[in-house]
Symmetry: C2
DNA sequence: TGTTACCGAACAAGCGCTTGCTACATCGAG
DNA sequence: CTCGATGTAGCAAGCGCTTGTTCGGTAACA
């Protein structure tokens, strides 16, 4: 166990918080340094550039997400249960990396200009494929409706799910798990009472 | 009919396109000027600042949105039909102001630092209240389920609806109207066949 | 002759990043 | 145990560049 958390980790934490709340371009390296308690030049002992920090944040986040998704599709085969697990799994990743999630959802156009963008694109494609496979499988087996294109269903769920990081904060009365159940139920059963 | 479209309008159009695709902070006034075919300094004959352009773009957009919503709730009383009309109305506003929509959805943290932010906040509150009233009314009258908080339902629909500006482009086979119907149907009836 | 639209050139501020240097901890050789 | 060598972390200063913005001049037009 590290008694003192790694300096590099602290910097990434502070940077992620700033990137998430102000945007990447609007956050200066001087602000990041001040949040950590050092001067801006000293940041470059730990990272080669500002974009290097961004890359490290997003990379960790996406790797975690992909590994969670991989395990879900390996352990479950029923599309309905898979979809439920994907929602719960995604929200647990949001809880683990709230700042990174927000950065990834908000700053897509900045990320696409990064040097390490290939790695991001590959993982993003994996994530999308997972959802499309699960939904497509559900349509084929008849547990999901077939009159709406799977890619449309995916996008609706995807956006509603991931943008919750912008507004949803769990409370005693309304936990993250309850929210996940409600989200799943809304999409599976609809708003109109059955 | 204006034979030559207003210079100011042309500038706002080009600026909105750049803001939407690259982000506001990442777009320079020199880029905007070059897109119009003038020098950066000449922009300041038409606008007092870069933020002034942003404000004009978002202001027009939100005013249009609020007026569309106002007419909908005035002409329709059934919550289910109101919700359907809100979705269709929103998507027509997206078609009319695609760039402004994207700016508003993506650059919230930049907008919140604007001087004219009060006007934005007021209209944003009006929009939210419209949705919450419609959903809340549906819950009270029993046409919408009551086991999920209305503000959660609102957010799920809102995010799925407005983020479609990022990915949905109507085609011959799949029109905007069809997409609107599918989105309404997904939320009202759910993904599982009834 | 005034007004409108724009040019051309510049300005101050702020940006990411680099550099030369110091203080301190660690550690193997004597 | 001691002591020089080495690596780590940070400071202080500033460089080159880009940014939004300003301003005097000018050409076309009414």
């Amino acid at each position: 166990m590290a008694e003192t958390p790694d300096r590099r980790t602290v910097i990434l934490d502070k940077a992620a918080g700033l990137f998430a709340s102000k945007g990447i371009a609007a956050t200066t390296v001087r602000e990041i340094a001040e949040a950590v308690g050092i001067l801006s030049g000293s940041l470059y002992h730990h990272f080669t550039s500002k974009d290097d920090m961004v890359d490290a944040i997003v990379r960790t986040y996406l790797d975690d997400l992909v590994s969670v998704y991989t395990e879900i599709v390996a352990q479950e085969s029923d599309p309905r249960k898979q979809l439920t697990a994907l929602v719960h799994g995604s929200l647990s990743v949001i809880e683990a990396h709230p700042h990174a999630t927000e950065i990834y959802q908000n700053s897509g156009n900045y990320l696409s200009s990064l040097v390490g963008y290939e790695h991001i694109k590959i993982n993003a494609a994996k994530v999308q494929k997972t959802w499309l496979d699960v939904i497509g499988n559900g349509v084929v087996t008849g547990v999901f409706r077939d009159d709406i294109p799977p890619r449309v269903l995916y996008r609706l769920i995807r956006d509603a799910l991931w943008l919750s990081v912008r507004w949803f904060k769990p409370t005693h009365q309304y936990s993250m798990k309850k929210f996940a159940d409600d989200l799943v139920s809304t999409f599976l059963d609809g708003i109109v009472p059955r």
